[in-house]
Assembly symmetry: D2
Homo-oligomer: 347 residues x 4
């Protein structure tokens, strides 16, 4: 069974045999796996390790442990990348979001850029007849749902989205659907495909921060919600955007991590204080909105087709990675095992 491994930016394939399933696990034939921004990062802490990867996964259950009840062999599923355990004290106290015994395929050391993988059955959510390349978007869409939720966006909000990556664009689709007042998105002009998608998804204004730094941009209205998918140091810009004029009460939600000095944020706490701002970290682990994400894709609340810019067969994963890293062209790149890729007749 072909599996991709990554060391630094080098990718290799190996032929592996999967181990036997534990009683509560499933084996999944992978049919699509999206490339996430974190797949492109090279975490210096593991730069010298060869690791399997890929965590935005749709496939079909091909084997199930004896105690598995929630899905069956033959069922088409997506995999939550992190599922609340249901039995820790937090799960027992109506606080699943703080689960301390998260279940994930991460624990199996098998991942999505492979032909097959193993996952705890509890991570599998039936996807009906949704095509795998679209269904694989449900994982990042769950992230976007949490990012939006955390910012308490409402119909009166003027929203600034920082970063036009897939999650930023999904968040855009969501806040547009929710009827917010005005939507600004920051994106570099050269990120053409993403800028185009942002327009299509309903951004009112697109700002190129390389031309006008966000801290200097005149929004012409109160910015009271900022959704940040850019690296930690840009949080200072998010704070500045919420400080224009005689207004208060902005909420900034963010995802995204950085390495080295980029792991730090620094901002003027006086401004933050006098403007009554809030900074809220979104981290979709455990994933809390898998079923909702599938529903939004199914019903077109988020247009999955418009987000998938490229599809590649697994054998061309290195090329897929390069494409995904080129933000002037790619939005979401989906990788499919070669047989699936051929029969899906996509390109």
């Amino acid at each position: 069974m072909k599996t991709a491994f990554k060391r630094g930016s080098e990718i290799n394939f190996k032929n592996l045999q999967l181990r036997e399933l534990a009683i509560n696990e499933i084996k999944v034939k992978v049919e699509a796996c999206g490339i996430c921004g974190t797949d492109l990062h090279n975490d210096p802490d593991v730069a010298d390790k060869e690791l399997p990867f890929g965590h935005e996964i749709a496939g079909t259950v091909i084997e199930a442990g004896k105690s598995v009840l929630n899905v069956k062999v033959g069922q088409k599923v997506v995999l939550d990348s992190a599922t609340p355990c249901g039995t820790c004290d937090y799960c027992r106290n109506a606080q699943q979001e703080l689960c301390v015994k998260i279940k994930s395929f991460w624990g199996t050391r098998t991942f999505g850029f492979a032909e097959e993988m193993i996952a705890p059955a509890i991570c599998a959510i039936p996807r009906g007849d949704m095509p795998p390349d679209i269904a694989a978007l449900s994982e990042p869409l769950g992230v976007a749902i949490d990012l939006v939720r955390l910012a308490e966006v409402n119909i009166n909000s003027n929203v600034l989205l920082m970063g036009p990556g897939p999650i930023g664009l999904m968040a855009l689709a969501l806040v547009k659907h929710m009827g917010v007042h005005k939507i600004f998105m920051s994106a570099f002009a050269e990120e053409k495909t993403r800028v185009e998608a942002a327009r299509k998804f309903g951004a009112d204004v697109i700002i190129d921060p390389s031309k006008t730094p966000l801290a200097d941009y005149d929004f012409g209205c109160k910015i009271d919600r900022v959704l940040v998918t850019t690296p930690p140091p840009t949080l200072a810009d998010a704070v500045a955007a919420c400080c224009q004029g005689k207004i208060k009460g902005g909420i900034i939600s963010f995802i995204g991590i950085g390495f080295g000095e980029n792991a730090y944020c620094r901002f003027n706490a006086n401004d933050f204080h006098f403007k009554k701002l809030q900074l809220r970290a979104s981290f979709a682990s455990p994933a809390l909105f898998g079923a909702q994400a599938l529903q939004y894709l199914r019903e077109g609340v988020v247009d999955g087709q418009a987000l998938v810019s490229h599809r590649f067969p697994l054998s061309r994963l290195p090329e897929a990675m390069k494409t995904a890293a080129d933000r002037t062209k790619a939005v979401k790149v989906i990788v499919m095992p070669d047989d699936v890729f051929k029969s899906a007749n996509v390109s």
Copy 2:
């Protein structure tokens, strides 16, 4: 294995053999089971059926199905009477409280007034070394926690608790601990043990509604939270209590059901409207606060010893039921299999 059955108000014992466990089930040696108000009701719909019962359970795991991971044989536990499944769409969308595939020993048709029973393992919560008669209180305490939570009680609240049963008294202990402004409890003077417990637990005022109907009682302050554990028709009194003076915004949370005409509530919707009231149903199914309930008992936030007025061996269940039904004497009555009862040396 001795099991009690109830038909109408008649109680019989049978010797049963428990079936084999399913892979995800546990067998529990019952060590204590509390008598709930619903155990005393005679639901006319099932008046002619002989049914096992008892759902406030502490015991020890004596056998575990092959896939059980969250508890071990020999572990002391309590049983949630209803646990979120973790895999339905609601559980997947951070709304466990709306779970549509609740797991419960109800499904096994085995219950707590017996020497042994079967439960889905997911329902078991370790209780450490807490004595079973106290630990069994965690089930109704979870109900009380939900009742209080739903009313959004805070330190400025003037709280009226309607009904001094075990859940009402537990709710009293909770709101006292939370530092609410003033606490009123309605209780009939003849419910002496309960009235005494209410005083001990910190009620500021106890009102006998047979002497002064709540609708006429002058609270001398705004009543803005009402926690109702009395039957549905009394909700009209809860509404009236929130309508005194020039005040608005009361929240009434309630549990409790009635039969026949007592299943209905009726109140003046104009008053409800002009006073901006809210009526919120608390129903701890699924149970959402099992771990918290155990913690509150362990730390003395709720004084379990003060709530258990009587203990009986299982063989004297009929007498235990009569005692529990006598609200002038009993608060919470706990039933323990005879061997446990003896060795516990309680009375």
Copy 3:
């Protein structure tokens, strides 16, 4: 100055001289006043009294007391029908919505079906250049905003709106704008203009409760939000609608009052309990969303033109009232002093 008076269903005009302004009051030339459902009701308690009326008011400030700072003579305004005082303990404690010293033109005994009236200045909100007949809608729109807010409607909600009156239609426009999942509206087939408006405003399904009682209607999905603008006895239908299938957690918000037996609601509290329902009274006194309501009308979130079905000059108020009472034809009926009516060139 011409003023309309109502006794039972009889309407008379008088020529009155307004008293001198208090220091914090304004005199307003009325330019438009909407007819509200409560204007059509005949409250038996005041059936024999001759009373001025009309509380959905847009006009122009023509005189201002010495201490008035928030508006100026010549400024076009709408009047909040009830404004938080700003100095009672509730207003001081971030709970304006519970204000116990509400300021209103009700206290001046002058109303909107007149050429001029007196109001506390604090009740006046500038309306810019919005036409008075549209701006007058801001008062009921504030009611609709509160009704929707209270139900905690979100993009996943399946919403049932009971009653296609102006407030129900405004609530429909709001929940549509918010991107809710599915919208049902109950309306009698003969309420043609309203049904047409409901379709235009985006209702997915319109149900005639005279053909299929709501309690029997198969919604095909979970109804989890019900917004009730029909009389109190219909709350039982709202409860029933939330009880279909294996679902829980519905929230019912309601406005609307009844007389005599119609002031009461009655429903099955067992169902309410087992389904974890909530009933929440919306009462926009004080009005909390006046500025927002004007903004929604200005920006077309709610299409004011589509709601005003008829305009009448003040002198034809009796005919206007009859028209408004005919729910087969009218949605919102606006009354304008004769000179304004002529110069507005409306019909």
Copy 4:
């Protein structure tokens, strides 16, 4: 009329004549004014300006403008330092906390370290017969209430309070009253009076961060709420305290400002992200809990007497300032005009 002025750390007195009142203003005989930490700071931006100061004020109304209705001459009051206007769009939309036209005595350029001052009447809250030196605490107590509110403290919280100043101690009294799970307070050992007060007010553990940096301290439990009254750079410690163990979901609320580099906070955003933390700025402008603060002082929820460590006559303000700056001795220092000081017979 004697008024104190401050330039840098230099204090002078002048004899001033107050101007005539505007129609909606009051003149207040000051009876007590607390020294706030911000009175001790020397803001470099105004280092060369001579400015009046003092904003924690209790006194008696001695003159009232013609439109003043909420208080009368002779009435004992405290002064909110910032009151929502009631008529801006935010106040009109149930968002007083975002008011953009705040009313304050700041606008009159008269302050509390003086014998008399002028304030907008709307800022005055009757204090009944509460002594002025205690009532003056209501201003900082309002700050503490907001700080606690913003952190969503509940009975399960393990709270870390950073800084044992008056606001930190008041916050401690509040969270103790609310029955939180465990309370840690950071304080330097040499701040003896404050440490003693912290013990009296119920802190479970007091940590000297000069001995064990908070980032290294082993709390032995999840810290999920941090209330920060120390300068912005210490926010990194607050973040670190929330990152111990396998826990998530901490909320950090903070007040307090810094000058120069001390205006900035900097922390590891990866940690913040993976732990799902939130940083929320509390800024009690407008003041939102003035009435509640008075009530808590009246009812002993917060023990005012225990907080006032020193009282000085106005003529000894320089000495009072030095005392207040000595954190080894002082908690709250109250200044009273000399005649009031004498007749109050305090020391």
